[in-house]
Symmetry: C3
Subunit: 342 residues, 3 copies
C-alpha cells in the first residue's frame, strides 16, 4: 500500500487542510478504528467526538464543523462521505486484469472485442456479439449470440448473458448473475402446461449494478428493462417484461413478478415481493419484506403484508399487539352489561 501526504489527499478531493499537511497517511479506517496513519471521515460533530483525544492520520470533515484539537490533520470538503469514497479507491485501486483475450477464451464468428477489453480465461462468447472498449469479463462467464455489451463494464466470473441481451456503459454485473433468462410463461394445453416461447429481450442501461446470483428474465414479447443508474443487490429476481426505472435501489432477495412497472427513484427493502402487472410510482419506498399486491402511488412509503401505507401498517401492527387487552376490556363490558341486565 502506498503512502500519501495529507496535502496530496486534500488535492485529490479539492479540500483544505487544517493541521500538518505533510503528515503521512497509509491506510483507511472507520472513525472508531482509525489510527495515527489512517484516513477517516466524520459526517457531523457528534461523530467527530468519537475521535476523542486520538490523533489520526487525516480526517475528512464538512465546512462548518468545529474540530477536536487532538493533533489530527483535518481536510475540509463539501461532502466528507463522497470524498472518503473517492480516496478509498485511491488506497485500494480495483484490480484490473491485463487487456486482451485470454488464450483459453472462445470467441464466436462475427463477434468484436473492444480496445482495452479484458476477456478472462475460459470465457465463452457466441456469434455476432459486441464487447465494448475497456470492458472486463471474468473467468467462466458465458456470453451468448447477438449480445451487445457497452464500454467500461465489469462482468464478474461465472455469469451467463443470454442471446439478444443489451448492456449499456459502465455497468457492473457481479459474479453468478443470469441475464436474459427465459421467463416463466405457460399455457394450459392438452398434455399439461405448454411453454410459451420467450422472444423479447433483456435491456440493461448505463451505470446499472446487478448483484451476485441475481436472475433477470428476458421479455416474453416485449422487453425487460433495467433503467439507468439503478442498483440491484444480491439474489434478486426480476421477471419478464418488468420495467425498472432509472436510479432505483433494490435490496437483496427482492422478487418482482412479470410485467411490473417501477418508476424512477424507487427504493425497495430486502426480500420485498411484488405481484405481477402492478405499477409502482416514481420515488416510492417499500419497506423490507413487504408483500405488494396492489399498485403503489408515486412518492408513497408502503410496508407490511399485504403492503399498505407505512403509517397504517405501523398502527395496525402496534394495535395487533394490544389485542389481548382489547379482548379483556370487551369481556369486562359484556359482564357489566349482563350484570345490569339481571
Amino acid at each position: 500500500m502506498t503512502a500519501f501526504t495529507v496535502q496530496q489527499l486534500a488535492e485529490l478531493v479539492a479540500g483544505e487542510v487544517e493541521g500538518d499537511a505533510s503528515r503521512k497517511v497509509e491506510g483507511v479506517a472507520s472513525v472508531d478504528r482509525a489510527g495515527p496513519t489512517d484516513l477517516t471521515f466524520v459526517v457531523d460533530e457528534r461523530y467527530a467526538q468519537r475521535l476523542g483525544p486520538r490523533s489520526v492520520g487525516a480526517c475528512l470533515v464538512a465546512p462548518g464543523m468545529r474540530l477536536e484539537a487532538n493533533g489530527t490533520s483535518y481536510i475540509r470538503v463539501e461532502s466528507p462521505e463522497l470524498a472518503f469514497s473517492k480516496l478509498l479507491g485511491v488506497f485500494h485501486p480495483e484490480h484490473r486484469p491485463p487487456s486482451g483475450v485470454h488464450p483459453t477464451a472462445i470467441v464466436g464468428r462475427g463477434s468484436r472485442i473492444g480496445a482495452g477489453a479484458s476477456i478472462g480465461p475460459y470465457v465463452t462468447i457466441g456469434d455476432d456479439t459486441v464487447i465494448g472498449d475497456g470492458t472486463l469479463v471474468g473467468p467462466h462467464t458465458h456470453i451468448d449470440d447477438d449480445v451487445v455489451i457497452g464500454n467500461d463494464c465489469r462482468i464478474g466470473p461465472g455469469c451467463t448473458i443470454l442471446h439478444d441481451t443489451s448492456v449499456g456503459d459502465r455497468v457492473r454485473i457481479y459474479t453468478g448473475v443470469r441475464l436474459g433468462v427465459d421467463g416463466f410463461g405457460y399455457t394450459p394445453g392438452a398434455d399439461g402446461l405448454t411453454r410459451i416461447p420467450q422472444v423479447g429481450r433483456c435491456i440493461v442501461h448505463d451505470d446499472v449494478e446487478i448483484g451476485a446470483n441475481c436472475t433477470v428474465d428476458r421479455g416474453a414479447l416485449g422487453d425487460t428493462v433495467i433503467g439507468q443508474g439503478t442498483k440491484i443487490d444480491n439474489l434478486v429476481h426480476v421477471g419478464h417484461n418488468v420495467v425498472v426505472g432509472d436510479n432505483c435501489i433494490i435490496v437483496a432477495q427482492v422478487g418482482i413478478a412479470g410485467s411490473v412497472d417501477i418508476g424512477a427513484g424507487t427504493h425497495m427493502g430486502g426480500q420485498v415481493g411484488v405481484a405481477g402487472h402492478l405499477t409502482i410510482g416514481a420515488g416510492a419506498r417499500i419497506g423490507g419484506q413487504a408483500g405488494v399486491f396492489g399498485d403503489v402511488p408515486a412518492g408513497e412509503t408502503y410496508s407490511g403484508y399485504p403492503a399498505r401505507p407505512h403509517r397504517e401498517s405501523l398502527r395496525a401492527s402496534a394495535l395487533t399487539l394490544r389485542l389481548p387487552e382489547l379482548f379483556r376490556r370487551l369481556l369486562r363490558l359484556e359482564r357489566r352489561l349482563e350484570g345490569d341486565g339481571e
Copy 2:
C-alpha cells in the same frame, strides 16, 4: 426473420382464414403493438376492440368471436393463445448448437453421449454418466458421476448436476441450477454440529422445467423428487426428501424445507415458504409470500402468515386495518358505561 403468408400460418395451427389469406406476415407482437405485418392474438371480443381501426398482419381468434372489420386477416382457431404460442416458435426458433462434443469438453470413463446431443465448450462430465439423445448441455456445466439425463433435454450454461441424479426426457434446466446438492442435516455432537451424510438421490421426471439459480437438494436417505410436468421459476430452494407432485407451478424464490410432500397440480406464488415435514394436498393454491407452518388440504387456497384459508386471511387482514376504529368504539362504550356508573 422469414415471412409467411396468412394461409401458411393458418395451416400450421389448423385454423381457418377470414380475410386476405395471401397477406405477408413477418413478425409477432402483442395486440397493443401489432403493426401491418405482425401476427397477434386476442382471447375475447373485449381484447379484439384494442385493434380498433388498425389492420394488423394476422390475428388469431376463437371460433365464436365477432370481429372488427378493419382489414385484418383473421385466423380462427380453438385456442388462440396456444396457437400463438406455437407460432412464436415458428418465428423465433430456438437456437440449437451443433451436435457433438466440443473439443474442450471433458467426458469421464464409461460415460455415454446420445445421438444428436450437443455438449458445449468446457463442459465437464464425470464417469459412468449417460446423456440422452438430442440433449443440449451448455458451456461450463458440470455433470458428475453416475448421472442419467434423458432425451431432448436442455441444460443451460453454468449448471451443476451432482452424482446419482436422474433427469427425465424433455427437461429444461436453466442456467445456474444446482441439482443433487447435499441437504441441510446436522446432529449435535461432542464438537458442535456433526454433518449427516446425505446419501439419497435427486430425481427429476419428464417435462419438468427448473428456473435459473435454483437449488434442489438430494435426499438424506430416500430421494428428492420433482414430478412430471412441474414448472419451477428462478431462485427456488427445494430441500432434501421433498416430493413435488406432477404438473405443479412453483413461482420464483419459493423455499420448501425438508421432507415436504406436495400433491399434483399445486400452485405456489412467489416467495412462499413451507416448513419441514408438511403435506400440501393435490391442487392446493398458496398465495405469494405465504408462510406455511401446517398441512394444507387438497384443493384449498391458502395465504398469509401464518398461512390459513384465503378468505380467513383476507378478512383478518381487512379487519386489522380497522383496529383503530375498534379501539375508538370500545373506548366510547367504556366511557358511556363509566358515566352510567357515576
Copy 3:
C-alpha cells in the same frame, strides 16, 4: 457397496451387539423402509415399534431402550443418531477426486497448492493464493488473488471466491457460492448514486458450511465474518460487515443486511430477513420468515412480522383470526346500549 457384519459395525461405533453379531448388513435405510440386510436406527421406543415384526439387518438403539424381539440384531450405543451418521459415511464414502492439479486448471504466480489437494478441471486460481493440504476444489471454480483456503476443505463446482478472502480448515463451500462479493454501498452524488469501494475482507472460520448459491459480501471497511462451526443452508445472503458467531444455524434463503451482529449458537429459520445494523444475541432463535427490524435479546425466541417474542406473535396471530367475532360482540354491545339510551 461393501457388506459388513453387525460385529464390524458395532466396533466402528463402540457399540454392544444384542442378537446375531455375524449377520451381514449391506445398506442403510430409514426405520420405515429398512429390510433384512439394512442398517437403521431408532431414537426411542415409540420409533422402535415401527419395526414391528420385521427383522432388519441391524438397528442402532440407545442404552436403556426395551427392544422388539423380532430377530433384528441390535447395536446399543450412546447416541444412535450420531452412530448412524457415522456409519452412513462408511456405507457411502464421499467421492474423492485424485490429488493434484488438473492439466486444464490455471494457477497464478506465487500461488501454492497444498499436499494432497485436488484442483479440478478448468479451475482458475489467481496470484499469491494459498490452497491448504487435502483441500478439494471442484470444476469451474474461480479463486481470486490473495485468497487463503485452509486444509481439508471441500469447495464445490462453479464457486467464486474473490480477492483477500480467508477460509479456515474443514470448511465446505457448496456449488455456486460467491464469497467476498462487493457489498451494496452507494452515496448520493452529483450524477446519481456513487459506488463506495468495498475494501474489507470476507473471513470464514473453521468447520463452516455454506450452501449452494449463497452470497457473502466482503466488508466495506472492516470484515464480514462467519464464525467457527456455523452452518448455512442454500441461497442465503450475508451483507457486508455482518458478523455471524460460532455454531449458528441459518436455514435457506435467509437474508442478513449489512453490519448485523449475530451471537453464537443462534438459529434462524428459512427466509428470515434481518434489517441492517441490528444485534441478535447469542442463542436466539428466529422463526421461519420472521422480519427482524429490531435487536433480539440473547436466548430469546422471536417470530412474526415484525418479529417479536414468539408467544406474543402466536397470541396476536390467534386473536387476529378472532377479529370477526370481536366486531360482532362489540356491535351487540353498542346496539344494546343504544337501546338503553332510547
